[in-house]
Symmetry: C2
Subunit: 339 residues, 2 copies
Amino acid sequence: MKRLGKQTVYFENPPFIYETASTVGEKEGKGPLSEYFDVVLNDDYYGEDSWEKAESRLQKENAMLALKKAGLLPSDINYILAGDLLNQCIGTHYALRDIKIPFFGLYGACSTMAEGLSLAGMIIDGGFAEYVMTLTSSHFCSSEKQFRFPLEYGGQRAPSAQWTVTGTGCAIVGDKSKSKKDSVFITHVTTGVIEDKGITDAANMGAAMAPAVFGTLKAHFEDTNFTPDDYDLILTGDLGEIGSNILVDCMKKAGYNIERNHNDCGKMIFDKTQDAHAGGSGCGCIGSVFCGFIMDRFRHGEFKNILLIGTGALMNTAIVQQGESIPAIAHAVRLSRGE
Amino acid sequence: MKRLGKQTVYFENPPFIYETASTVGEKEGKGPLSEYFDVVLNDDYYGEDSWEKAESRLQKENAMLALKKAGLLPSDINYILAGDLLNQCIGTHYALRDIKIPFFGLYGACSTMAEGLSLAGMIIDGGFAEYVMTLTSSHFCSSEKQFRFPLEYGGQRAPSAQWTVTGTGCAIVGDKSKSKKDSVFITHVTTGVIEDKGITDAANMGAAMAPAVFGTLKAHFEDTNFTPDDYDLILTGDLGEIGSNILVDCMKKAGYNIERNHNDCGKMIFDKTQDAHAGGSGCGCIGSVFCGFIMDRFRHGEFKNILLIGTGALMNTAIVQQGESIPAIAHAVRLSRGE
């Protein structure tokens, strides 16, 4: 059994990140990570007549771009694991109508990219696939419409609110036999349990998600005996400013200092002048930051070991309106560059 | 590589169905399969103050019942794979707040049970888990409210419409070392691609889903060299009357006669007097029929080989209102009783 402790598995033949692609919207393209994305839209409608269709097109074009960069065809990919934030994950489903790859649908909110990488690792190391694609997206306009207010209403946003990223990330995971010496391998996966500490404010999702990240991160260190110092970067996506501060504090109280090497995709994708309040969020935030910036920096030798932690808030509008608090989850994936 | 053809994998050490539990609502409890369900509710609110909370409680209590029947604790289960039809899968998420099992969220609409069994098989045969739980639900009232009309409106239903089942199924999949001679093993998994043949009528989902089942079933036969005659039952969930007829016709044209041994969970769970029109539907339909009736009949020696095919319609209300057609998916799982 390739298991360590309660929540972690390791890979005997670690799969690796074969290729990635990222596409973001106009606002994200004006942020600090602009140069690392493959495509920056200049129209967030992306030539479509609705935001939902635009989000779907984001996933489709980005998946095709990842295949093109990899020199692969859809028929080379054994499985695609994908999902998004829209009701019934239509961003994904309408994107994949035209790409005939066996498909497992995921719902993990903003943890989807990490969930996809986790399952891709198991499917490949388990001997069931050569290539697995993971894909996710979010779109500011389709999310605001669905989760908050009509955009035309121009509602004022709370300081603790995060800004849903318009963006998408696609990663093609390959089996080890195709790797190079300096490929980026998935070595360990720590899978989260659902945590709900009673936060009822849907405009403060960082606070709702921080306890789930705390649980997964603590489990990762306990299960593997890795320490924070074993990582160049412990990257969450997306706690934003408030959730990140809560996480760092809670970890310190539990005896782990991650202040030096923790960062959050939601804090990285926008700068302070961009009016994104507590930072970015959405499946497409960690998706595009991982598939764009992080993989570029890996390739340039800046990182050796990263713990990528996808974090998802698992409520919907109906249940929050019924007074319920917000459950959350976090999945961790250890990425290690070969030497 | 444990692969056959384009869409199928097989297991070297086939995982098996360790235990199942099923719970259904009042109407389902008056149907032909009543005696096979573990629990029949006499109040579809299940003591809660909303339908969403009732659906969530269905999953929670049913998961606990499966554990109890199996003599296992939550801590014995390495992963739970679960999802439902509600926006952002809140039926699942609020159920699992209190059951601390590492969780991968799925969205496959009514294919969720088959998707869960597929991934559970790969995770266990891949060497990553001893026990994986799959769980899903649907609730007539929460579904009507979300997808169609307020219940109080009393909208007339189209003859082609299906009736969303109030019910839940939970299966605990175990690794082979714990099996008995006559356990029910998962031997092959054929994973679907998304198909969309242009059906735009959300009250005719059987027709929208039939092409996806056709594709997966044809791939299964081509990949494995099994024939329809190798199965005691080819069980879809849930095409209903209309989708089933389309499937049988299309298969006949492709050279496969499944008339003798095809049935559909949506056709089985209600009888003609129950005003369910084209039949039952919802994640909980195949969930409860498989975990209740099918597993009971396996245990009584009635079946030796079954192909279980979960079928999901992957639209949401917003995109259908924008005029889009309905994509669908189908996942097949071969179940074989040892001798």
